[in-house]
């Protein structure tokens, strides 16, 4: 069951990341009355292939890593909660979500110009900062992977050490 949760979550995060540049197109196609159901499905499915055409090797790598790690992270968190190990420190869970948030910042780096990062930065008039980032925003994706790994480590450590009874 937890493997399924991890798998489904990873798939959702991955699809979100890949579809992100074309969310508005997908929404429009889905709501278009003149398009058949199969056609509505075809486009989002084919757009998943953009992981090979619209990402660099680096950004594709950390996008897939973030999706997988977040799935594992969420499954472990649910396991955590179901066991009602409420007294353990939950810093690992928080780290995981911060990791996802950081990863999301870097995810927009499809095509030229980080969609999310530069969008956010331009609102505060600081889009020029990208010129000073060697990976043009990919740093956030890498940071996301590191934080998710840290989160998984912390949660696993807490699960192994339930702290209900110390012997």
């Amino acid at each position: 069951m937890y493997a399924l949760i991890a798998l489904v979550t990873s798939a959702v995060v991955f699809a979100f990341a890949v579809w992100f540049p074309n969310i508005s197109l997908i929404v429009e196609i889905m709501g278009h009355p003149g398009i058949s159901f199969s056609q509505k499905l075809d486009l989002p499915i084919s757009l998943l292939g953009s992981i090979a055409t619209n990402f660099t090797l680096l950004s594709a790598s950390y996008t897939i890593a973030i999706a997988l790690l977040f799935g594992v992270n969420l499954a472990m968190t649910i396991y955590f909660l179901r066991r009602k190990i409420s007294e353990v420190r939950q810093s690992g869970v928080a780290t995981g979500f911060i990791g996802l948030a950081s990863g999301v910042l870097g995810m927009g780096c499809a095509a030229c110009g980080s969609l999310l990062l530069t969008s956010g930065l331009s609102l505060v008039g600081a889009s020029g900062i990208l010129a000073f980032l060697p990976l043009a925003g990919g740093e956030f994706g890498i940071l996301g992977v590191i934080l998710l790994l840290a989160s998984i480590y912390l949660i696993a450590k807490q699960i192994q050490n339930p702290a209900i009874c110390k012997i």
């Binding site: 486009l43 953009s50 030229c112």
Partner: protein, 251 residues
């Protein structure tokens, strides 16, 4: 063996800790929601060429309807009266534009010969990321100015073929490409430094931003009835094909 049982008094801080997960989820959710909003909002251009004024315009009016009408002044590959037109805003030094250029050539091989699809090229150099891109956009425009539409496309094809992308093309290659496609190199060099296309290229950039372009390649698929579909990035051929087929269905 000594067993140590948890202290009853530990419950109070536990309740506080329990808030960590929901709070983290709410924060992450807010960040993701903000991400979606910002990423799909009509403003927020990313080009360095955009000063404060165009940014404000884009944030207020950025929509596909802002796309400049396709005219004889555009660079059109294929049938100008094709039922479906793909307007591509492109940066010559963007690696994804280089990739998408090949995808578009494949589109024209399948749909261009029988006049179903026309490809309209517009400039969208991202100065912030690629400092050489604007000069290369000028070079492509100069090729069209000196040699006409065929030379425009021949030059663009060759430039996208030879550039390693990400500012990797030596500017000395530009006249060589001109010579390769059969242009008068003297006229080409004069054009390149003349500033003749400065306004035209900037107009293209601003139009890309006004239509909601946040990065390159940025394409708009226009159906015969005027319906417009946005396509961001170097999407796979299968996706472009599906979008064309949908646009061809529009009456």
């Amino acid at each position: 063996m000594e067993h140590e049982t948890k202290e009853p008094g530990a419950h109070a801080p536990i309740q506080t800790n329990n808030l960590t997960i929901p709070v983290a989820i709410v924060i992450a959710g807010a960040l993701i929601a903000g991400a979606v909003y910002l990423g799909t909002s009509k403003g927020a251009p990313t080009t360095a060429g955009n000063n404060q004024q165009p940014q404000q315009v884009a944030q207020q009016t950025g929509s596909l309807d802002e796309m400049r009408t396709i005219s004889k002044d555009d660079h059109i590959r294929g049938n100008p009266d094709a039922p479906v037109k793909i307007v591509e805003y492109s940066d010559p030094e963007c690696p994804f534009c280089k990739r998408f250029h090949d995808t578009m050539k494949q589109v024209m091989d399948e749909y261009g010969n029988d006049g179903k699809v026309a490809w309209v090229y517009r400039n969208f150099p991202l100065d912030q990321l690629h400092q050489k891109a604007r000069n290369e956009s000028t070079a492509i425009e100069c090729a069209g100015d000196i040699g006409g539409n065929d030379k425009f496309w021949a030059y663009a094809d060759r430039l996208y073929e030879v550039t390693p992308s990400n500012d990797g093309l030596d500017p000395a290659e530009l006249p060589k490409i001109a010579q390769y496609v059969g242009l008068d190199v003297g006229k080409f060099n004069a054009c390149l430094t003349s500033g003749k296309f400065t306004k035209h290229i900037e107009d293209d950039v601003q139009n890309a931003v006004a239509t909601g372009g946040n990065g390159t390649p940025w394409s708009i698929v226009v159906a015969a009835n005027g319906k417009k579909y946005p396509l961001s990035g170097a999407q796979p051929y299968a996706s472009v094909k599906q979008l064309i087929d949908l646009a061809l269905q529009e009456k």
